[in-house]
């Protein structure tokens, strides 16, 4: 937990520094027509840096005194189920680039139900085909909101 605290606050220290550097690049002073573009971000960066710096120092002090605490960011045994959600979700988004969102979601649904839920094919097949089909009809057809078709999207033409 304490390491995670440190990493998070350091992440914000870095964000603060990046913001300040970029604000200085675009100009952060009082220009001819009022504050320049970097004026507001500059102070945001300074604020982020100060606050995350304070958190980092506090955490470091505690870290030195008590060492890394036994409490973990992700409790024992919980990492696996979380990764089982995260990785397939990332996979779905990546697959969307190729297959399009609805097809990728069908694969994702089937995979998750089968691999994690250990659900029988009798449920898996209809759910994983009908859900994307229904959402396709609602979004792409009824409300005319085009969702990503991926590289193959051009070649798939559904009759409805």
């Amino acid at each position: 937990m304490r390491k995670a605290e440190l990493f998070t606050s350091l992440f914000f220290v870095v964000i603060g520094i990046i913001t300040i550097v970029d604000a200085v690049r675009v100009g952060f002073q009082w220009g001819s027509s009022g504050p320049e573009s970097g004026w507001f971000p500059f102070y945001l960066g300074v604020g982020t840096l100060i606050c995350s710096g304070v958190i980092t120092v506090e955490n470091l002090a505690r870290f030195k005194k008590e060492g890394a605490s036994s409490a973990r960011l992700i409790p024992e045994g919980a990492l696996t189920p979380i990764l089982w959600v995260l990785l397939p979700s990332v996979g779905m988004v990546l697959l969307t680039e190729v297959l399009g969102l609805h097809a990728a979601a069908a694969v994702f649904l089937a995979f998750y139900m089968r691999a994690v839920g250990k659900i029988g094919w009798i449920t898996v097949v209809p759910v994983s085909t009908l859900t994307p089909l229904a959402l396709y009809v609602i979004f792409d057809r009824a409300f005319l909101i085009p969702l990503p078709g991926g590289m193959l999207g051009k070649f798939i033409h559904l009759p409805f």
């Binding site: 507001f40 971000p41 960011l73 979380i82 779905m92 659900i119 959402l135």
Partner: protein, 502 residues
């Protein structure tokens, strides 16, 4: 005053038109489902459906969005009472007494008490909304950039001073939200900021994507981590339950009124609904004659937090439509929906689009009433949603989230942002960084920056402009006091201890 009555009548009749009525029904049903499902809440339920409303007319569109919100307010309590899983943060306090009462076999009665309290909270909240909104809007017409900025400053200092989390972490969260809002094109000069040559970053970060990631995926990770145990209690709402529930409400009318008023008051400030429900629960417990009953299924322990939550939810609409400053992530998303229709919330909305504003207020009346009947009639159906295996629900929720994230701007990169925000949301929750201020900062970023810069130009660079009479000065003073409230109240307490016996 008479004019307001007339406007209200017009608004209600707009909201009661068959098409709008149907839209409200659909929104409410979706809202209750969204409120029941873990990982989907009011904020991201609305966020996902925003793309759908783009093709609609503004009035039915906003009715759909706000109905989802009312539905989610009702739906959150179903899971708290039947499954001991709060569907929404503001229904945590309901689990304390709602679940024990359901366990004793009075599930139906517990639900009725909760729904009716919601109903009363809603009615009082909507009455306040109907009559104060025009007055506040009239007042807000006098606001210049300095005043707008001072009200925003008040909003954020309320998060720092009254949010109950570490002040430093809240500040980091606010700054990070503003920084993300600044990415992309500077609205004043047109210069590119923090894009580092990337075209994707030029479009900036959309807060709707952030909401879907933070509250959708982040919440799913938390749910998975805790290991989902769904042990629900079967419930049917009978007429006997309704009669008994109404009787309890009549007995505890003082608690009911107190809860609602706490809710309406707290709802005006940002992040109000959740603290309001806890506060109301605490007060109800203190005021009760037999405190031992609390935690064992006391009716008052359900009434107070539920009325407060719905009262707060309703009164949160007030700052959003009159000042253009949303108090909660859900309100921010609804405001985002308004902006997609080309309507900028704020005092001018009352002048320029009076029909729209009153249609929205009218739909609060209609939506909350139908909502009450829907939940009373169909609770078993909604509870059945949770009987669906999590392995089926979870991928479907992620899928719907991805649709919502993509459709906001039709950009694939937003799906990746959504994943990133999901991880960020999980880490924030675990490390106790508050999420709501970050989302609000992301929403208000451009507006706050523009107001601040304009005000400074008017004041020729001197920050004194933020303390000018008659509006900015008291607002800024209040903001500064609230900002330092934890330290101020600490000092007061120490003084008292010194003076007192000891």
């Amino acid at each position: 005053m008479v004019e307001n009555f007339h406007n209200l009548y017009m608004g209600i009749s707009v909201a009661a038109q068959p098409y709008n009525f149907m839209v409200a029904m659909i929104g409410l049903i979706l809202g209750v489902i969204v409120g029941v499902l873990p990982g989907l809440g009011g904020a991201n339920g609305v966020a996902i459906l925003i793309p759908l409303t783009v093709t609609m007319q503004p009035i039915p569109g906003i009715i759909l969005l706000s109905s989802i919100y009312w539905g989610a307010l009702y739906g959150g309590s179903i899971t708290s009472i039947l499954f001991n899983i709060p569907g929404e943060p503001w229904s945590v306090a309901t689990t304390f007494d709602g679940y024990p009462m359901a366990k004793k076999g009075h599930a139906g009665k517990a639900l009725v008490i909760s729904f009716l309290s919601h109903g009363v909270g809603a009615v009082i909240g909507v009455i306040l909304l109907s009559f104060f909104a025009p007055i506040i809007a009239e007042f807000a017409l006098k606001f210049g950039p300095a005043e707008i900025f001072s009200v925003m400053f008040l909003t954020f200092s309320a998060f720092v001073g009254l949010g109950g989390k570490s002040a430093m972490k809240t500040l980091v969260s606010i700054f990070f939200g503003f920084t993300m809002a600044a990415v992309g094109m500077d609205i004043v000069t047109g210069q590119l900021r923090m894009t580092f040559g990337s075209i994707d970053l030029m479009g900036g970060f959309n807060f709707i994507v952030a909401v879907i990631g933070l509250f959708g995926l982040g919440e799913i990770f938390l749910t998975v981590e805790e290991g989902l145990k769904m042990e629900g209690i079967e419930a049917k709402v009978t007429f006997k339950d309704i009669r008994e529930g109404a009787k309890e409400l009549a007995i505890h009318w003082k608690t009911l009124l107190m809860g609602t008023l706490i809710g309406c008051w707290m709802g005006l400030k940002p992040g109000g609904a959740t603290p309001a429900s806890f506060m109301a629960y605490g007060f109800a417990k203190q005021a009760a004659r037999n405190k031992d009953e609390f935690g064992q299924g006391a009716a008052a322990g359900i009434i107070a937090p539920e009325a407060a939550a719905h009262g707060a939810g309703t009164s949160a609409t007030l700052p959003m439509i009159t000042l253009g400053i949303p108090g909660s992530p859900t309100m921010a998303v609804i405001m985002g929906g308004l902006m997609i229709f080309g309507l900028t919330p704020g005092p001018m909305l009352f002048k320029e689009h009076a029909d729209f504003v009153w249609g929205l207020i009218g739909s609060c009346w209609v939506g909350n009433f139908i909502g009450l009947f829907i939940v009373l009639a169909f609770t078993p159906l909604f509870a059945a949603v949770l009987k669906v295996r999590f392995a089926i629900l979870m991928p479907a929720i992620v899928y719907v989230c991805a649709i919502g994230a993509y459709a906001v701007n039709n950009r694939m990169i937003d799906c990746y942002y959504m994943l990133g925000f999901g991880v960020l949301g999980y880490i924030f929750k675990k490390l106790d960084y508050p999420l709501a201020p970050m989302v609000l900062a992301l929403v208000l970023g451009d507006m706050a920056e523009a107001a601040m810069r304009q005000a400074l130009i008017m004041g020729q660079g001197s920050p004194v402009v933020f303390f000018r009479f008659p509006i900015a000065l008291p607002v800024m003073t209040a903001a500064i006091i609230i900002f330092f409230w934890p330290s101020i109240s600490g000092i007061i307490r120490k003084r008292r201890i010194k003076v007192g016996p000891g």
